[in-house]
């Protein structure tokens, strides 16, 4: 497990990170969410060792991360970049070899990975001739080719079309299933919500929330329910303990003051007519995000 504990970093007089602590567990996808300038990139760079920290620790399985541990980290920097005049396959092979693979082994891996990412046709094209989306895929290959134990990806989905998002998401899930600890940041909260097992929310250089996605959701849920029925749901307004938020014929969204109230509402709805659906509404990640960063 990768653990950050009390990590602090200042640029000049400005404090970019203040006591940042969270865990990235193996076998799980951890979403890292925060606004612009919240400290995501700085945190990731510190984990990768490309940036020094002022204080705090970054440990892997209990011991401070060393340079040789980091050889088994995969990294996709926020600022994308590969050598423009290198061929795609050759480039990924080069990076795999820098991570310690033999030439033959590196070539096998790079070819397989690029094909999986849909770049099989472009192996011998220069990086600069690829479209932005394809360069992005090559960048992901660069982060994954050495089969890292820890993956740190800064905005891996930005600039990808929905199909490519699915391809990349699939690859990341596969890596997590194989036991890698995956930390990825994104502004696309819907994608994070769909993918991640754990969630870390950062704002102004401090961690505002961290933990399993479902736990966070439960913590922030407000007994909000959605009712879809055939009858007119107008009676809800006069029901005690119910606060109607949205209403349209048989459709209503309401907050209940207790679980008993919710059950009572359901029984009455069934008595009034056919109920097509009655379900608790979990807060979306976007809602949780807005709530915790305030």
């Amino acid at each position: 497990m990768l653990q950050l504990s009390g990590v602090t970093k200042s640029y000049g007089g400005r404090r970019a990170l203040d006591g940042v602590s969270f865990d990235v567990r193996p076998g799980r996808l951890t979403g890292f969410v925060g606004g612009n300038g919240a400290g995501k990139t700085t945190t990731m760079r510190i984990v990768l060792g490309v940036l020094g920290k002022d204080s705090g620790t970054v440990t892997l399985d209990g011991t401070e991360v060393t340079a040789s541990d980091r050889r088994r980290f995969g990294y996709m920097p926020e600022e994308r970049g590969l050598y423009p005049k290198m061929k795609v396959l050759e480039h990924i092979v080069y990076l795999a070899r820098l991570h310690g693979f033999s030439k033959a082994d590196a070539t096998t891996r790079a070819r397989a990975l690029l094909e999986q990412l849909g770049l099989g046709e472009r192996l011998d094209d220069n990086v600069e001739t690829l479209s932005l989306g394809n360069q992005q895929r090559a960048q992901i290959a660069a982060a994954l080719v050495h089969d890292p134990e820890v993956l740190i990806l800064d905005e891996p989905f930005s600039g990808l079309d929905p199909l490519a998002v699915d391809v990349v998401a699939g690859v990341l899930q596969e890596r997590a299933a194989a036991g890698a600890a995956v930390l990825f940041s994104s502004h696309q909260l819907d994608v994070v919500e769909r993918l991640c097992d754990d969630l870390v929310i950062i704002a102004g250089g401090t961690i505002r929330a961290a933990g399993a996605r479902d736990t966070l959701r439960a913590q922030h849920s407000t007994r909000r329910f959605e009712l879809v029925s055939t009858g007119d749901a107008g009676w809800l307004r006069s029901e005690p303990g119910v606060d109607v938020l949205d209403f349209d014929g048989g459709f209503a969204v309401f907050d209940a003051d207790s679980d008993e109230t919710a059950q009572r509402v359901l029984r009455r709805a069934v008595a009034q007519g056919d109920v097509a659906s009655f379900a608790p509404q979990h807060p979306s990640l976007a809602q949780i995000f807005k709530e915790v960063i305030q």
């Binding site: 490309v50 990294y75 970049g81 050598y83 005049k85 080069y94 820098l98 310690g100």
Partner: protein
């Protein structure tokens, strides 16, 4: 598939991988291959042209009347045309067929007169003059002095071209990595020092290969065109030049890499590499203006930045004692080590600072 080797990559392998990529990407650049071919071709043409000049050396054309025949008999360097009388000789001088005429003249104390158009050819006058015999105690040095200027230009220009070509190559390559941000990936895989060392070594290998190719073309060319006298004088200086160039270039390449790492865009390279470019130009101009000034040459031959030009010049001119190149080489290597340490520090501290130019004090402090 096996998983990544636990120990990762050793420093020597990492350095070599980086060096290998530097070399491969340069050899793939058409501009580089073509400019190298032109440079080598130029050197070849120069050597062969020199050979023909030496082989085709013809004498000064002179017209000689019958009564002056005795004075030019057996003299070297003259191409004699016999004419009937003074009038015929003057006609040939006027229309330019000959440079001068030697005609008998009883009024002259030497018994003859030289007729020329607007000035008498020096070559002819020296040949005809009654000079006292000269005994040279050190005949080798005499020949070298005449060729000194050419050798000075040769060493100076080769150093200037190769150092600035590969110096700017390494500078551009450093900024390319910074500008395309690939550097962040690289230094998450290998230590910054290995990256710097690989880049310096890769470019040094390319630069040395070019220097050795030039040197062998010069040596083979001189041998083939039978200019063995020149070859004897130039052999040792060329060998020393190659050795000095090796360390001199490592020194410059480290500084170029460090200077380039302080900027983020190709357009800004000049602002930080300018002082180093001056260091490369200086030996070229100094050796051209002062190749006959022993004091300046001696200073040049010990200052690390000009030693690759200054020391071979002094060896060529026979001014250096046997131990002098060795001392100068030690000074150069020591400077080289110091420069690498400072360069590594600047490089490490500047690599991830994007945007404006990094101040030297910040780059050194970290």
């Amino acid at each position: 598939m096996s998983s990544a080797p636990a120990a990762g990559l050793g420093a020597p392998q990492a350095i070599w991988l980086v060096a290998e990529r530097e070399i491969a990407s340069k050899l793939r650049s058409k501009a580089f291959v073509i400019s190298t071919a032109i440079l080598l071709l130029g050197a070849l043409v120069l050597v062969i042209w020199g050979g023909f000049q030496a082989a085709n050396q013809t004498g000064t054309p002179v017209a000689v009347t019958a009564d002056a025949q005795q004075y030019v008999e057996g003299l070297p360097g003259l191409e004699v045309t016999e004419v009937a009388d003074k009038a015929a000789a003057e006609a040939l001088v006027t229309d330019g067929t000959v440079d001068a005429a030697v005609v008998g003249d009883s009024a002259s104390p030497t018994g003859f007169t030289v007729v020329a158009d607007d000035s008498a050819p020096t070559q002819l006058m020296l040949t005809l003059a009654q000079l006292p015999p000269v005994e040279l105690l050190n005949p080798e040095g005499g020949q070298a002095a005449a060729l000194g200027y050419i050798a000075a230009i040769g060493f100076g220009i080769v150093f200037l071209l190769a150092a600035s070509l590969f110096g700017s190559t390494i500078a551009q390559s450093v900024v390319e990595e910074k500008q395309t941000r690939v550097v962040e990936l690289l230094i998450s895989a290998i230590p910054v020092r290995s990256l710097l060392a690989g880049k310096v070594i890769g470019n040094t290998i390319l630069a040395m290969a070019q220097i050795l190719l030039l040197a062998s073309i010069a040596i083979i060319g001189l041998t083939v065109t039978d200019q063995t006298a020149l070859l004897q004088g130039l052999g040792a200086p060329i060998a020393w030049f190659s050795i000095f160039f090796l360390f001199g270039f490592i020194l410059l390449a480290s500084l170029f890499a460090a200077a380039a790492s302080m900027v983020s865009r190709q357009e800004d390279i000049g602002s930080t590499t300018m002082p180093i470019t001056m260091l490369i130009m200086a030996p070229y101009f100094l050796v051209i203006f002062f190749n006959d000034n022993p004091l300046v040459l001696t200073i040049m031959s010990y200052v690390p930045f000009s030693a690759p030009v200054g020391m071979p010049m002094r060896i060529f001119l026979g001014q250096a004692q046997w131990w002098e190149p060795l001392v100068s080489l030690v000074i150069l290597i020591a400077t080289c080590v110091a420069a690498i340490l400072v360069a590594a520090r600047i490089y490490q501290n500047s690599l991830l600072r994007m945007g404006g130019r990094v101040k030297l004090t910040e780059a050194l402090a970290g």
